[in-house]
């Protein structure tokens, strides 16, 4: 099955640390940093690799500081070839 993977870039200099994106994120990927940006706010960072690219964080961000990327990556889906199936099932084909 095809899998959707996402990633975000947070503009940490725009971030005011309101944490609305943390609340909106269904995956719990975001957390508040321990460092402050130039404005003195504790900005938000992504701490987990489970982003699905749902854009919820970007939708609620009042500063417009989140860019969302999404990509469909191939999972373990394999195309069943008739030769492989025959081999697996020990079927002899008389030609």
């Amino acid at each position: 099955m095809a899998k959707v993977k996402g990633d975000i870039i947070i503009d940490i200099e725009k971030c005011k640390g309101c944490e609305l994106c943390i609340e909106a994120c269904s995956q719990g990927s975001l957390e508040r940093s321990r460092q402050v940006n130039n404005k003195g706010y504790l900005y938000i960072v992504k701490v987990q690799d489970n982003c699905t690219g749902c854009t919820n964080c970007a939708l609620v961000c009042p500063e417009g500081g989140i860019t969302v990327y999404r990509k469909t990556v191939d999972g373990k889906k394999q195309i069943a070839k008739i030769d492989n199936v025959n081999q697996d099932m020990n079927i002899e084909v008389n030609e």
Binding site: G6, K14, V60
Partner: protein, 274 residues
């Protein structure tokens, strides 16, 4: 600093280092800041709904490709500097007179898209007369009304839209309806007028509501092209600083207290009242 904090710091640094994965490339972008929204820092408090509405406006303008055909009118209030953030032609109006100024602009330049962006102190208090008469004349403009139930810029005084029992600096024991009057539902009021064609109330406190609010603003611009009356979009918003809450708390408070009194949804649509 304890051990756990140190590990966390390393984790953060690792996250920052691994920022550029294969997913981050221009062809995979699904959401980015709209081009009409200028790349400057906004002066709004953290968590304020104004920023979201500015971004939605910019998104709608970008998607409809009408950046050169839009004229906005900024109000007096927190959003007085809206023209610094949107890369479109904008004008500033006297307090409460944004809809009157927008009327003039629309009559001189009827082919342009004209909108006014007003808060509740501007639209529902000092500008009540202008708002009601603009809607009654049925001017072909879009009025965007941000309702946070308080005067934000001047320091949290009571507004006409302040809820019953809600504390503000001028109603420190809560709004008393017998002496201060009941909260004004101006959106329902203008929906009664024959000049309005589309009246709706939305909010921006959750991702789903943000999507709906964007559709409402888009519909407002599309209907303006066809003519037929004023479009009025109210957006119930938060004011964390003057409600004296964190942004997340203020959104919960909005959901629990504001939305029962200001129910969301279309109040009037062009096909008939809903």
């Amino acid at each position: 600093m304890n051990e756990k904090a140190l590990i966390d710091d390393e984790h953060f640094e690792h996250t920052l280092r691994s920022e550029h994965t294969e997913i981050i490339s221009p062809e995979n972008i699904v959401y980015e800041k709209p081009g009409t929204l200028l790349d400057v820092d906004m002066h709004y408090c953290p968590g304020c709904g104004h920023g979201v509405v500015h971004r939605l406006l910019a998104e709608v303008i970008d998607e409809m490709e009408i950046q050169s055909e839009v004229i906005g009118v900024a109000p007096v209030g927190c959003s007085v500097l809206a023209y610094n953030y949107l890369n479109i032609d904008m004008s500033e109006a006297a307090h409460g007179r944004a809809s009157a100024a927008a009327t003039g602009i629309k009559r001189v330049l009827p082919e342009k898209y004209v909108f006014s962006y007003q808060g509740d102190g501007d639209l529902a208090a000092i500008g009540t007369g202008e708002t009601i008469h603009t809607c009654n004349r049925g001017e072909n403009i879009l009025i965007i009304f941000i309702n946070n139930g308080i005067y934000g810029m001047t320091g949290g005084q009571m507004a006409p839209t302040t809820l019953e029992g809600m504390k503000s600096t001028t109603s420190p024991f809560g709004r008393n309806v017998s002496t201060m009057g009941a909260p004004l539902k101006i959106t329902e009021l203008v929906a009664q007028l024959p000049g309005t064609q589309y009246v709706t109330r939305q909010s921006v406190h959750k991702p789903g509501n943000v999507r709906k609010a964007k559709k409402a603003i888009q519909k407002g611009f599309e209907l303006q092209k066809q003519g037929g009356g004023t479009c009025f979009v109210e957006i119930v918003s938060n004011c964390p600083s003057n409600w004296k809450m964190t942004p997340i708390e203020s959104n919960h408070w909005l959901e629990d207290n504001m939305l029962p009194f200001y129910p969301l949804g279309d109040i009037k649509t062009p096909n008939g009242r809903k």
